[in-house]
């Protein structure tokens, strides 16, 4: 098929090859699975994947089956970065480091909470890998419990809506910024509504010396209580409503890859209202969230284009 053929023109360099193949057992319409599919598509065949315990691990490797066509390893919930450190070192000693991409996947629970110490340690000592946090804003594999990534006031099974307390009381942990503060050279956010952007960022990340980090918005229709067809659309609304800002932090400078002007932004309500996890919200609570979203976005705008993070490596 020639380079100029329709298909290639249309898929603009995306690979045909699937490395996270059909037959995985993610729920119908899983946004996290879509992210994973594209990240490994972008990464190419010479990749090794380390994955933390979580939905994507569980749905893809019921012995004796696997959805992976590239080497893949899962150890535990919190040690994906540490396992990757070992692989990184081994590859280096075997002279195979340059030819191999090392991808580390963790859900938000793994990345924001239990595995963050190990990630932080690996970044500090300069291990080389690209960490992808697939953030569906709760512990989905175990049944939608609160994580550090769960947004303010969302209903989860451990931050339930009750008569006395109305969902999660703490705002979402600002993880990409915390990671960027470690001084690594590349941090980015992405969603499956922006696939070319996602592919580009994955490739950039993999080309970074030392550690790099990608925060991927991952709709979970089951945990968010939506219909099964919303993963892409809701990702777009998340970006448009400034709930999930799209940016890169290169050498400590933040650049929006899609900037949403306040005036043109979709109201956060549009984002919230299709999700069962927010259906308990009263108008003043929605307003609180809107204020919070704007405040955070304004902050990002403020540091945009400046050296906002020191880089060490």
């Amino acid at each position: 098929m020639g380079a100029g053929c329709l298909t290639e023109r249309m898929i603009k360099g995306l690979s045909y090859e699937e490395r996270f193949v059909s037959g995985h057992r993610a729920c119908a319409g899983c946004g996290e699975a879509l992210v994973v599919r594209h990240v490994v598509k972008a990464a190419g065949p010479n990749s090794i994947v380390v994955m933390a315990t979580g939905c994507m691990e569980v749905v893809s490797t019921p012995y004796p089956e696997t959805s992976w066509t590239i080497p893949w390893i899962h150890g535990a919930f919190e040690n994906n970065s540490a396992i990757a450190s070992g692989i990184d070192a081994a590859l280096r000693m075997q002279g195979k480091r340059d030819e191999t991409n090392l991808l580390v996947f963790g859900g938000d629970g793994s990345t924001f909470d239990i595995g963050f110490g190990a990630l932080s340690g690996a970044l500090e000592r300069g291990n080389k890998f690209t960490y992808i946090c697939t953030d569906n804003e709760a512990y989905m594999n175990t049944g939608v419990q609160r994580s550090g990534a769960t947004p303010f006031l969302a209903n989860t099974t451990t931050s339930p809506v009750g008569k006395a307390v109305h969902g999660k009381q703490e705002p979402k942990k600002p993880l990409p910024l915390i990671v960027a503060a470690h001084g690594i050279k590349y941090v980015a956010t992405c969603t499956p509504a922006n696939l070319y952007d996602l592919h580009k960022k994955v490739k950039k990340a993999l080309a970074t010396p030392y550690g790099s980090f990608i925060h991927a918005f991952s709709v979970c229709p089951v945990g968010w209580h939506t219909k099964s067809d919303v993963a892409v659309e809701l990702s777009r609304i998340a970006v448009q409503s400034r709930v999930f800002p799209l940016y890169e932090i290169e050498d400590g400078v933040l650049t929006f890859t899609q900037k949403i002007e306040k005036e043109k932004a979709t109201p956060v309500l549009d984002y919230l209202k299709v999700q069962g996890r927010f259906k308990h919200l009263k108008p003043d609570e929605v307003e609180k969230i809107q204020v919070y979203v704007d405040k955070r976005y304004d902050f990002l705008l403020e540091i945009e284009g400046k050296k906002a993070f020191d880089t060490l490596f």
């Binding site: 057992r25 993610a26 729920c27 119908a28 899983c30 569980v58 749905v59 019921p62 089951v222 099964s228």
Partner: protein, 185 residues
């Protein structure tokens, strides 16, 4: 009554587990001991799942899986193609299938079993307005087995759904179960 074992086949997200829980509570209101438990899987929405009930006059100590059910309830007839729903069943065991097919058609698929074909989805859509078949199907069980009364079932539906803050659904489920039961008479 001696120990009765029921196996329910459904799909993740269809409420198969809830259904067996309701049945266990219902049996309790009929003065019996009961047990309900899922086939502990890692299945996601859409994947085949199983859930079980035991009912007995005496306290139930048995903790093994259900291997030889007296009753089987199939919430989704598409499962018949991929799952052996008759596994371990006695030949006289009752199989209740939610289907728009006729009993005759079904019997061809499940020869030698006491099969009941009921279009529970249709009834659910009529009564509830949504294809919630899990609790409705229990109406068929009550009617056909006579092991659990419809009255107890109503009480159980009330209890479980109210506990989960879904009183409205409870009412609809009760109506649907009744409608399904009527259909079976």
């Amino acid at each position: 009554m001696v120990l009765k074992e029921i196996r329910l086949h459904g799909r993740g997200g269809q409420g198969a587990v809830t259904s067996t829980q309701v049945l266990a509570i219902a049996a309790f209101y009929d003065g019996m001991y009961s047990q309900a438990f899922p086939n502990f899987g890692v299945e996601r929405t859409g994947a085949p799942v199983e859930s079980y009930v035991r009912i007995d006059k005496k306290p139930i100590n048995l903790r093994q899986h259900v291997y030889d059910p007296d009753y089987v309830i199939v919430l989704d007839s598409s499962l018949l193609d991929t799952v052996d729903v008759t596994s371990g069943m006695q030949k006289d065991g009752i199989i209740i299938v939610n289907t728009d097919k006729t009993e005759a058609e079904l019997k061809k698929k499940l020869p030698g079993f006491n099969v009941h074909a009921i279009d529970i989805t249709k009834i659910a859509l009529e009564v509830i307005g949504k294809p919630f078949v899990n609790v409705a199907a229990l109406g068929a069980f009550c009617a056909l087995s006579k092991d659990v009364s419809l009255k107890a079932l109503d009480k159980a539906i009330d209890e479980l759904f109210t506990a989960r803050g879904k009183a409205a659904i409870a009412q609809l489920n009760k109506k649907a179960a009744k409608a399904v039961a009527d259909k079976c008479k």
